[in-house]
Amino acid sequence: MGDTVIVIIVIALSVVLMFVFPLMTMADRTDDIAQLTIETATSDFVNSIVVKGKITPEDYQSFLQTITSTGNTYDVEIEVQVLDENPGKKTTQTDRTTIGENEYYIITTSQVLDVIDPDGGTPKSYGLKEGDFVFVRIKNTNQTLAQQLKNFFYTVVGNDTYSQSTEKGAMVKATGK
């Protein structure tokens, strides 16, 4: 009886060592490469926005294609902080010795997508100007193989259970033409 139990334990350990361990290792490497891919794609996307001064539908679609080529699904957030110099101008025009403060207001993902990827409409570029800021954040929404394997041993609960994410932001360098 004792020998039987030991044999069962040995078989179980062997299965874990010979199959699960390499699988987990490779799944982790896949996640690392996917993370690098989305970091590179996000950096390139943000860079093209700040250089061109606009978010073009072509750049956006190309960005989506690149990140989904990792085999995962992602939630993409685009936030634009638009520089408003009018309050500063009005202050200076009232009191000539004072430099007025400029303000920023936020444009969210849905407002940007209404222009570059509208439902039923013609996509067009979302123009930005020098001094605006753009931020792109992405998080994966599916469970990767590595997450699934880890869930055998422990489960992460909560609202954010993503394993891959990145955020890039930059100031727009030239007003889009």
């Binding site: 010979m18 290792t25 200076t92 004072t98 570029s125 100007k129």
Partner: protein, 870 residues
């Protein structure tokens, strides 16, 4: 074998493999992360540099001139390296540590580009000998801080000479060089047969002149009353304004003065040849385009110029580079201004060819300068990047050779800027409507009736940026050239409603909006600075009814000193060869040949052309209004910094030991500076300075003047005055003085200073007379020399505490870097332990020219200085 044994063996095999794989993957991941990080750092530094350039260009009056532009670019380069050092956490290092990995920086300007990269500094014999003597006499060590005496062939980082976007073409009798720009402006120079060509302007297809009305794309272009806000004499005013050759001229209605700003100083203009109130820049812009179009049309070898006619500097064909199509075909049959025109395509090819060639050489040569072990090579730029470079003011930076784990970093960054004073693009014009809101010209609200276009004016976008000046109380005030205007929230602040369509297509048929836009575009483009701008000297071209009719065109060229003008007539059309030319024989007009006339007086001159069969008669009246009397020319055109050819008399003077305090007698021979150059220091009758000139460099041939002790201190001013008097050529000059004395009253301080502990020091008192001269030298870039230079001004420093103290007596100088310096040569201590010290510096005398001096030739540049006469 038992299962557990198999499992152990499996682990022994697999574990190392997976560990190695994991490590390799991690290394690659880190390498790519580092590459992304370096890309971001390089982008950030390049963006900082181009922002610095942008701020300097539209805040400085002088940015339009070539030397000030180079200073702005040097500032941008410094900003780039500061930003790189900060980004790479190398704040304590100097630029040289970063420069090892930056093979080149390229600044794409409007009609050419600069490359910033290392070069070998090659000095001539005179400079080498002078510097060796200077160092041997105790001067500053060499640039690298060592003691080498080999100063020649030193590696320095700096801006290479400006390279234009030029290409040479040979077609039949035409051998011309065409210089392109970021828009459709061209400059054509060369020869067509025996005719020398020097034409420039914008290439516009759909511009017409009928019955003295100019139309562009069907929109009539007229003169306008254009106004801008400016702070002048401490007050903010909205004045008529006109920009000519990069300078804004204002007319102050309250004082009747016309003025402009130079170096933030108001300069009143009295002899302008154009009207500031009626701004006809837009009219002249399109007129110039018509002239250029007609000129090209009247010269078949130029009109039929093709890309296959392009040749390099050795005359070899560049057909393989540029393809085979006519360059100017669309000027007469198409729309040459369009982005997709063949002309634009060729323009991009020429820019790319030039930049790529010179940049490749600069980067490859960098291997000879850098201490990094990398082999530097020019990376391949993509087509859309060349498109970006060729259509915007841009900066390209390269960073190579940094190790990033698994490979060596090789990256570049291209950052463009489209809000600067360099280039007026089509998108740079904003439309200000009557509600004081300015819009992008592609704002949909301007086309759907939401906005009232009546009373709208087009402005250059940089005129909505904040500027500053001082009010009458000396407090800095801020203002906008276009006051009380705010940006539209649909197209300026938030640009989501800006259309993607072409501007020309959107404006087609819009009437008033198109007129406002094209007038503003023409006004701003015509006012831009051009180095070879001869627009001030062309007359109007008059009627131009049909292409084949007999026509007479006239161009006016003034000589350097504007004492006379040459009128050149061009007769074109049917019967031009046999046409009869006549003119009014009036005083001041002299015929040289049938088509060339000399005018020596201001006035209107009429020329008539009649066809041989008498069926056609055309005339042209030329208005000459920029001939100056020599007195007026000297008074209003000779400026500080201009070069003057001045003949130095042959004199020698010995400065004895008891005068200078130095152990040896010093001999100053004026012939050591016989071929040296002189520049205007003052031309100011208002303050009584008159016309005063200064030697460009030290006149002692590198030997310098030594001063020592109390004698040297007390006699410093009289010695410098005596030396200056040796350079007075009594034919042209009244007197000479030491630099640093009061320009209107160059006398020495008479008084002796008292010591802190009572008693006469025996030393002359200090003064602050030097400030006027030093300020003048700084303002007009006259400071630079290879040695410190004495100022005829004294200073002292004293301390007294607990009954003990000292007086230290100094003679002022300015150093190589342009900063003021006190050279202490005598110290008096409370206990009478006086000390004497020897100091050395150069001498730059100031000469006052006679009030009735005449300028007979020259344009004041270093290569063509003014020649004076009595």
């Amino acid at each position: 074998m038992k299962l557990q044994g198999l499992a152990v063996m499996f682990i022994i095999i697999i574990l190392p493999i997976s560990m190695v794989l994991a490590s390799y993957t991690e290394t690659r991941v880190e390498t790519l992360r580092l590459q992304i990080s370096y890309d971001e750092k390089l982008d950030s530094a390049t963006a900082d540099a181009i922002s610095a350039f942008q701020i300097n260009t539209y805040n400085g009056d002088e940015s339009i001139f070539a030397n000030y532009k180079m200073e702005d670019i040097q500032a941008a380069v410094s900003t780039f390296y500061n930003s790189m050092r900060t980004n790479f956490s190398m704040g304590g290092y100097n630029n040289r540590d970063i420069e090892d990995f930056v093979p080149a920086l390229v600044f794409i300007m409007y009609d050419g580009y600069y490359i910033y990269s290392p070069y070998q500094n090659t000095w001539d014999e005179e400079t080498i000998n002078e510097t060796k003597r200077f160092v041997q006499n105790g001067g500053m060590a060499s640039y690298d801080g060592g003691t080498t005496t080999d100063y020649n062939r030193e590696s320095l980082y700096g801006l290479k000479p400006y390279v234009y976007y030029s290409c040479r073409y040979v077609n039949g009798s035409a051998d011309v060089v065409i210089t392109y720009a970021l828009d459709n402006y061209v400059s054509i120079k060369g020869k067509i047969g025996n005719e020398v060509v020097d034409k420039s302007g914008y290439l516009l297809s759909d511009v017409q002149l009928n019955n003295n009305i100019i139309t562009y794309r069907g929109n009539a272009i007229t003169a306008e009353n254009y106004r801008e806000t400016v702070i002048v004499d401490g007050q903010i005013k909205n004045l008529p304004c006109r920009k000519i050759n990069g300078t804004k001229y204002y007319y102050d209605e309250s004082t009747g003065q016309t003025f402009h700003f130079f170096n933030n100083q108001k300069t009143v203009d009295t002899l302008l040849t154009f009207d500031v109130v009626q701004n006809s820049n837009a009219v002249e812009y399109y007129q110039q385009a018509i002239e250029l179009k007609n000129y090209i049309n009247s010269h078949p070898d130029l009109k039929n110029l093709s890309t296959r006619n392009a040749v390099d500097e050795d005359g070899n064909s560049l057909e393989n580079e540029f393809g085979n199509y006519d360059i100017f075909e669309e000027l007469f049959d198409g729309t040459i201004e369009d982005e997709d025109s063949l002309f634009n395509s060729h323009r991009l090819d020429v820019i790319k060819y030039s930049v790529e060639r010179n940049l490749s050489v600069a980067i490859t040569n960098y291997n000879n300068y850098s201490t990094a072990t990398t082999n530097f090579q020019m990376p391949q730029l993509k087509d859309y990047e060349w498109d970006q470079i060729s259509n915007n003011i841009s900066m390209i930076s390269f960073l190579q050779g940094l190790p990033i784990g698994a490979k060596i970093y090789n990256g570049y960054s291209i950052v463009s800027n489209n809000k600067n004073a360099e280039y007026v693009s089509e998108d740079s014009i904003y439309i200000l409507t009557s509600d004081n809101v300015y819009h992008n010209v592609k704002d949909s609200d301007l086309y759907d009736g939401s906005e009232n276009i009546s009373g709208a004016v087009g402005y250059y976008n940089i005129n909505f940026e904040r500027k500053s000046a001082y009010d009458t109380s000396g407090i800095r005030n801020y203002y906008y050239p276009v006051e009380n205007a705010t940006g539209c929230y649909n197209s300026i602040v938030n640009r989501r409603d800006v259309s993607d369509d072409k501007i020309s297509d959107m404006l087609n048929g819009t009437g008033e909006l198109a007129r406002v836009y094209y007038t503003a575009l023409g006004r701003e483009r015509y006012g831009q600075y051009r180095a070879s701008n001869n627009t001030n000297y062309t007359t109007s071209i008059g009627d131009d009814v049909t292409e084949n009719d007999l026509k007479i065109n006239a161009t006016v060229t003034y000589n350097d000193i504007q004492s006379e003008a040459t009128v050149t007539l061009t007769i074109t059309g049917d019967g031009a060869d046999t046409a009869i030319i006549s003119y009014d024989n009036v005083p001041g007009l002299e015929r040289i040949n049938d088509t060339t006339y000399r005018c020596t007086q201001n006035g209107q001159y009429t020329f008539r052309v009649q066809s041989a069969d008498g069926t056609q008669n055309v005339s042209r009246t030329v208005n000459i209004n920029a001939i100056y009397s020599n007195e007026d020319f000297v008074k209003y055109n000779v400026k500080p910094g201009d070069y003057i050819r001045y003949e130095v008399p042959s004199n020698a003077i010995s400065i004895l030991s008891n005068e200078s305090g130095y152990e040896n007698t010093q001999v100053i021979n004026t012939q050591n500076y016989s071929s040296g150059s002189w520049q205007v220091l003052y031309n100011d009758t208002e303050h009584g300075y008159g016309l005063q000139i200064i030697s460009t460099r030290d006149v002692t041939n590198g030997n310098g003047l030594y001063l020592r002790g109390q004698s040297g201190y007390n006699n410093s001013v009289s010695i410098l005055n005596t030396i200056a008097s040796q350079f007075v050529n009594s034919t042209y000059a009244e007197w000479g003085r030491g630099l640093g004395l009061n320009p209107a009253n160059p006398v020495d301080t008479p008084n002796n200073a008292e010591l802190l502990w009572g008693g006469d020091s025996g030393c002359k008192d200090y003064d602050s007379n030097y400030t006027q001269d030093l300020t003048q030298l700084r303002s007009y870039g006259l400071l630079r020399d290879s040695t410190d230079v004495w100022l005829a001004s004294r200073n002292y420093d004293a301390q007294f505490e607990n009954g003990e103290g000292y007086h230290r007596w100094s003679v002022r100088a300015f150093s190589i870097s342009g900063t003021e310096e006190d050279k202490m040569i005598f110290e008096q201590n409370y206990n009478d332990s006086n000390q004497e010290k020897t100091e050395r510096a150069g001498v730059r005398p100031v000469i006052k020219l006679r009030d009735n001096i005449r300028i007979v030739s020259g344009d004041g540049t270093i290569s063509n200085p003014y020649v004076i006469s009595m």
